[in-house]
């Protein structure tokens, strides 16, 4: 059930000069979400109107705690990054669809860039609990953008990295690392979240090799509840005829979609 729940900021961990992990305590959110889902909130006094969407990054249900990974890109994210410990926010959630675990015998391969890394920490926690080891490809500009790398390693995941400036791992984009993995694992299940160029590249590769691919899409969101229709993605489901398809809501039918359903060319500059 969705709730609009008071959450208190109890801890913060700096991840990079402009990103941090914020830990909140709240009655039910940490136990009621599934990996890939998000919550909408705004910090008091930030001077903004609308709430902003954030993926739930990790949870410690026994402590009623969950975390959000926040990268400062504007006023809303800045206010959250500067929120004093002990202050509260109202979190509307859990919202949206979630990542489905890989089908029996398929190897999970995760491709994540920037804040797109956030939803995969809890997803990998749940994979680890089921005894699965995902291949995690992390991308960023520089080494410090490879958020949570050590956390993925600690969970036993296999991690490979790419940075644009070569300061850590492969020099180049993270999708450069994908073909080798797809060669290695014939039966794979792809997951991706991050900048839209990256998502499209992963989707192309997945389509070429006919690998199932779940993608989490970012959109500006007004409500998160399926009511403003502001967050749409043009999709065509297998059962829909060639010429058809429709705008579906990233907050309700997404943010996690089957990549093959997305008609990328219908969003020239969606954000």
């Amino acid at each position: 059930m969705k709730r609009d729940e008071r959450a208190v900021l109890v801890e913060r961990r700096a991840l990079s000069p402009d990103a941090q992990l914020l830990f909140f305590e709240s009655p039910t959110l940490s136990t009621s979400f599934l990996p890939g889902q998000f919550t909408m909130l705004r910090a008091q006094g930030e001077g903004l109107l609308l709430r902003r969407p954030y993926s739930i990054c990790s949870a410690e249900p026994d402590k009623s705690r969950f975390s959000l990974l926040v990268k400062v890109v504007g006023q809303g994210t800045r206010a959250l990054a500067e929120l004093p410990l002990g202050e509260d926010v109202y979190c509307l959630g859990p919202l949206g669809t979630f990542f489905q675990p890989p089908a029996e015998g398929r190897q999970a391969i995760i491709v994540a860039g920037g804040v797109g890394i956030a939803p995969f920490l809890c997803f990998c926690e749940s994979l680890a609990q089921q005894g699965m080891i995902a291949q995690v490809l992390l991308g960023g500009r520089r080494a410090h953008d490879l958020y949570l790398k050590d956390d993925f390693l600690r969970l036993g995941m296999e991690v490979a990295c790419a940075t644009e400036d070569g300061s850590h791992g492969h020099r180049g984009v993270v999708t450069d690392l994908l073909p080798e993995l797809l060669d290695r694992f014939e039966r794979a299940q792809l997951y991706s979240c991050g900048p839209s160029g990256m998502l499209r590249r992963v989707a192309e590769m997945a389509a070429q090799r006919d690998v199932p691919h779940q993608v989490s899409i970012e959109r500006r969101m007004g409500c998160g509840m399926g009511c403003c229709l502001g967050c749409v993605v043009f999709t065509r489901r297998p059962e829909e005829a060639e010429a058809e398809g429709e705008y579906r809501r990233a907050c309700t039918e997404g943010p996690v979609f089957e990549a093959e359903e997305i008609l990328w060319e219908r969003d020239p500059y969606p954000l």
Binding site: C227, L229, V232, F234, Y247
Partner: protein
């Protein structure tokens, strides 16, 4: 004693004066988990045409100072699917159900009115006249007093339900439009719809909305909306339903004092779904403090004596 917060709008009895605004409350059930529906007197569902419409490409929304822009392009599922798939669930929830109808032609409005007339659970029709008239080069029905009146007449002829034209703020003289639709048979009026507006990403030089122009809503427009409600309520005898940026009981009271019988809330429900219970509690508290036995006593009680409105 409990003050009476119920209101009556041309035969339509609402348990509270708070109404969910069209396009901001989906088909009515989406907020079930988080909104206290007992605080709502009615729900106006998302604007419906005869047939489904795909809507505009994204980006569709943008935040502005104390406001939001939207250009959804009236994405909707068509009246038939609404009646079949959405209405049954909605009927049981408590608030009265008003359907917001849109047309590309006069005839389409008439057809929708006839279809909805006999549908169980529909308590009234709000006419969205801020729709482009495809037969006349896309001019909005609501920006031309003649067209607005003709839409109202045709809907009036098609139904026994209360008919509530929703006025566009984008006119030189709202009182003139209001009087025309009143004579054309409207039972009540609602206003304001969003105000045409736009924003630009200066780094890319692209509009923030794919549709270039969208509608501005939220607290930024409230003072404009209160003025339009005041002018409208003075021009007509039928009840007026006010909206535009309501976030608190004090905001709702401004509209009521300016002349509204009931109010709608849109954008602020996105921001804070507890706006309904908070606002209703605030209205009740106000009635008590001001010894009003019914909220309806407050409608149109602005003390403007001595004021001589002129240019400014």
């Amino acid at each position: 004693m409990h003050p009476d917060l119920s209101v009556e709008i041309s035969g339509l009895s609402l348990t509270t004066p708070l109404i969910a605004a069209s396009g901001t409350f989906g088909y009515g059930t989406e907020y079930r988990d988080v909104v206290d529906y007992s605080a709502l007197g009615a729900i106006v569902v998302k604007g419906l045409y005869l047939n489904p419409r795909p809507g505009c490409p994204p980006p569709r929304i943008w935040e502005t100072p104390s406001g939001m822009l939207n250009a959804i392009g009236l994405q909707e599922i068509g009246v038939a699917r609404f009646i079949e798939e959405k209405l049954p669930e909605l009927r049981g929830l408590g608030p009265a159900i008003l359907v917001n109808i849109c047309g590309s032609t006069l005839e389409e409005y008439g057809e929708l009115a006839r279809i909805l007339n006999d549908v169980e659970g529909v308590s009234g029709i709000e006419i969205n006249i801020s729709c482009p008239n495809v037969k006349e080069g896309g001019i909005l029905f609501g920006c031309d007093p003649d067209l607005a009146a003709r839409v109202t007449e045709i809907v009036r002829a098609g139904t026994r339900l209360p008919v509530i034209p929703k006025l566009s703020p984008n006119v030189t003289d709202i009182a003139a439009v209001a009087r025309r639709v009143e004579s054309a048979g409207a039972d009540a009026l609602s206003l304001i719809n969003t105000i045409p507006a736009m924003a630009i990403d200066v780094e890319t030089r692209r509009p923030r909305l794919a549709n270039v122009v969208g509608g501005l809503s939220g607290p930024a427009i409230r003072p404009i909306a209160v003025r339009l409600v005041y002018q409208t309520a003075q021009a007509v005898k039928i009840p007026v339903i006010g909206m535009g940026g309501i976030a608190t009981a004090a905001d709702a009271l401004e509209f009521i004092i300016a002349g509204a019988r009931a109010v709608q809330i849109g954008t602020m429900n996105f921001v804070d779904p507890s706006v309904w219970s908070r606002t209703l509690a605030g209205l009740e508290d106000y009635c008590r403090r001001h010894r009003l036995s019914s909220i309806s006593e407050l409608t149109g009680t602005l003390r403007a004596e001595g004021a001589m409105p002129s240019g400014w």
